[in-house]
């Protein structure tokens, strides 16, 4: 189906029409018989790319499936998501990765790119079949034990060395388990002290980030820091990026979640597990540092860490409740609310272009110009939308934004020329 999108403001700047032919490519003139979308007053961005999504399939299909997560992603303006490996069973073989990739193709709403585990069973001991996952149809390029840190420096070194053979990247969940113990669930600080909650100190993240950038430099490899949450990590990243640029032989990239850009640890005062997330919400000074780092490019990308949970997995005492919160449908609105001064070009950079580059998804994050695949999101920049958790396409309801009003709203999403979201609803 060919498509004409009229009157959109490209990256919030010049107004132009976009033409999509029936192969799903952007072209330079209107195809005959095309469907028209009136995008007057809307901002057009390349389709968003999420480096960090938990789709829960296989294993916890009661919380999310590849299909339901794809729906949520499309509603959030995404055209590609990277599905984390901590499923049951773990995505640590070519077969498992291919299965997730196939489920994504069957859903057909976004590109679902599986992330492979770094170590077998996420156990942190033996490397998973990294090369076979890369060679599979899924073409895995990002590897992560997310949910757990690859704590053993020797294993991390070997993983970084090994993925160089095919241009892979290791995405690290930076959490030293000896500094943030097995029950750590709250930012370690005054509030955790008063509430009697086991603390998760920022230093537990920072020492791993520091170690890993040195390992990346030593191995000449690519490391990606998942969900950065502290000002100290930002300082390390700023230094490391300067070194990497000077050396030109290795690289470090980093992501921040929408919730770490807007929510603070104070929300835990009522022990509401909706706000229990890993890494934990941090104090305002960390939030400010993360915003600044995203704006100046020290942090490359926004990634949702969309973590759906069945209601009963959150209805435990705080320390026993599951970590994580939903994020796919609200990410753009949260980023716009947290950083109202961020230009649309910068929004595209951190939510589409950079994530596609890091994951090496050649078809994603492309400029909206002839020859590019038609992955497009059209946003109403002035809309103020109050989030209703019951209106979510996700199978789960652990939504920290329920009842909050966020600015900007995804009106239409186009994935490979196909309209997946029209007028704010699944097409």
């Amino acid at each position: 189906m060919s498509l004409v999108i009229t009157g959109a403001s490209l990256l919030g700047e010049k107004t132009a029409d976009l033409y999509v032919d029936d192969t799903g490519l952007l072209v330079d003139s209107a195809p005959a018989g095309a469907e028209t979308i009136d995008a007057d007053g809307l901002v057009a961005l390349p389709g968003l790319v999420d480096l960090h999504t938990h789709l829960r399939e296989p294993g916890r299909e009661d919380a999310e499936t590849v299909l339901s997560g794809s729906r949520a992603a499309a509603l959030g303006g995404y055209t590609a998501v990277l599905a984390m490996a901590n499923t049951t069973p773990v995505t640590d073989t070519a077969e498992a990765a291919t299965r997730v990739w196939e489920l994504g193709r069957e859903a057909g709403l976004v590109h679902v790119q599986p992330v492979g585990a770094v170590t077998r069973g996420l156990a942190g001991e033996e490397l998973a079949e990294l090369g076979l996952m890369h060679r599979s149809r899924a073409g895995v390029t990002v590897f992560s034990d997310d949910g757990k840190c690859v704590h053993d420096a020797r294993v991390m070194r070997r993983a970084l060395e090994y993925v160089k053979a095919f241009g892979g990247v290791v995405s690290q969940h930076s959490q030293d388990p000896t500094l943030a113990g097995p029950t750590a669930c709250c930012h370690e600080g005054e509030l955790s002290g008063r509430l009697g909650l086991p603390g998760w100190p920022g230093i537990a993240e920072e020492v791993v980030v520091a170690r890993d950038v040195m390992l990346a430099r030593h191995t000449g490899s690519r490391v990606h820091v998942a969900h950065v949450s502290t000002a100290g990590s930002v300082e390390v990243l700023r230094w490391a990026k300067a070194q990497a640029e000077r050396d030109g032989t290795w690289s470090v990239t980093a992501e921040v979640t929408p919730h770490h850009l807007l929510l603070t640890t104070d929300l835990l005062a009522g022990y509401d597990p909706t706000f229990k997330v890993n890494p934990p919400l941090r104090p305002q000074e960390d939030v400010e540092a993360l915003r600044a780092a995203l704006a100046d490019g020290t942090i490359d990308a926004v990634a949702t860490d969309h973590a759906p949970h069945a209601r009963h997995d959150k209805e435990h005492a705080f320390v026993d409740a599951a970590f994580g919160m939903l994020g796919l449908e609200t990410a753009l609105g949260v980023v716009r609310t947290a950083l109202p001064g961020l230009s649309w070009a910068d929004v595209a950079r951190v939510m589409s272009v950079a994530p596609a580059r890091i994951a090496r998804l050649a078809d994603q994050g492309r400029p909206l110009e002839p020859g590019s695949p038609a992955h497009v999101v059209l946003v109403d920049p002035d809309a103020a939308v109050t989030v209703d958790r019951d209106a979510s396409a996700s199978l789960s309801r652990n939504n920290p934004w329920h009842g909050r009003t966020l600015t900007s709203h995804v009106v239409h999403t186009v994935f490979g020329g196909r309209v997946t979201v029209r007028d704010g609803a699944l097409a």
């Binding site: 005054e190 002290g193 009697g196 909650l197 705080f318 320390v319 026993d320």
Partner: protein, 308 residues
């Protein structure tokens, strides 16, 4: 009073009112027939998700002496490990027509969370390393009976503050009643951020027990929780005792009228020497009987009043 989750929920007047009721309840303990009809027809469930002998029996006796029907449920092993959510577990119990739920849970905040799910009045009988409000009330009540008033009295609280719910509730209760409080522990057993928190909450911190002990009007020793000591919080038991134990030597330097409290169970020879535990000024056993009176008062205020 709908629930008792934290000392912070109580005004000074409410604390004093509880103490007045507790004094009446205390008198019941010396009667031949220790029974009041106040909670006849009411059902109280003691739901304990972790082991406890003294607190559970204290609540059980308190409920029975007030003529409530008291049921003990040992839920150790936690609903989480059985696969059931905490919410489902407590809703199931409360569906049996429970008026009061006394809950002990190893997780901080559990009592507050439970109170948001059930209609019954909830008493926090200790939640993780967060609070133990009835312990704080009974400690303050014991000291008030001993010292007359707590206003401007200097209470020194010593021990494993990081893991102590007793400490967190006690500083609130004691400062509410006008006491000056100094908490003492090695830096590794001070809760994180306590420097900022203590200033706002009106208590002082110290690493030096010998420096503060001479000014003490009361000493409250806390148990060193050996089961939580895997993290290398101090080098050895011997070093802890030398630095922070109420040793025979320190006992000899205390004024003889300074009461010594301990919430129990005591590690004799570690945080408290046997001589101190058994000293004339030790109020450890009075704390136990005060505890019964306080818990009777709490259940009475929670369940016997209008609208209960």
């Amino acid at each position: 009073m709908k629930h008792l989750l934290s000392v912070d929920d109580l005004s000074t007047d409410e604390v004093e009112a509880l103490f007045a009721t507790a004094a009446d309840m205390h008198d019941v303990q010396s009667r031949e027939v220790k029974k009041l009809p106040a909670l006849r027809g009411r059902t109280v469930v003691n739901m304990f998700f972790e082991d406890s002998t003294r607190t559970r029996s204290s609540f059980e006796i308190a409920g029975k002496w007030l003529s409530a029907d008291v049921i003990n449920i040992s839920a150790k092993g936690s609903s989480a490990s059985k696969g059931e959510s905490l919410r489902d577990t407590v809703l199931t119990v409360c569906a049996m027509g429970v008026d009061g739920l006394v809950i002990r849970h190893p997780a901080s905040g559990a009592a507050l969370q439970v109170s948001q799910w059930v209609d019954a009045g909830v008493v926090n009988a200790g939640d993780g390393t967060h609070e133990h409000p009835t312990q704080a009330l009974l400690d303050a009540y014991t000291l008030q009976r001993r010292l007359g008033s707590l206003r401007d009295r200097h209470v020194v609280v010593v021990g494993d503050l990081t893991h102590s719910r007793v400490f967190r509730s006690n500083v609130q209760c004691l400062t509410k009643l006008g006491a000056r409080v100094t908490v003492v522990a090695p830096p590794t057993l001070m809760p994180s951020g306590v420097g900022t928190w203590s200033a706002a909450a009106g208590f002082e911190t110290s690493y030096d027990l010998d420096a503060v002990l001479p000014e003490a009007d009361a000493v409250m020793m806390l148990r060193v929780q050996r089961e939580r000591m895997s993290g290398g919080f101090f080098p050895s038991a011997r070093e802890y005792t030398v630095g922070y134990g109420l040793t025979r030597d320190r006992l000899s330097r205390l004024r003889p009228d300074v009461p010594i409290c301990h919430p129990g169970p005591m590690n004799r020879g570690l945080e408290i020497a046997a001589d101190a535990a058994d000293a004339a000024q030790s109020v450890v056993l009075q704390q136990v009987s005060s505890g019964l009176a306080i818990r009777m008062a709490v259940l009475y205020h929670l369940l016997a009043g209008e609208g209960a």
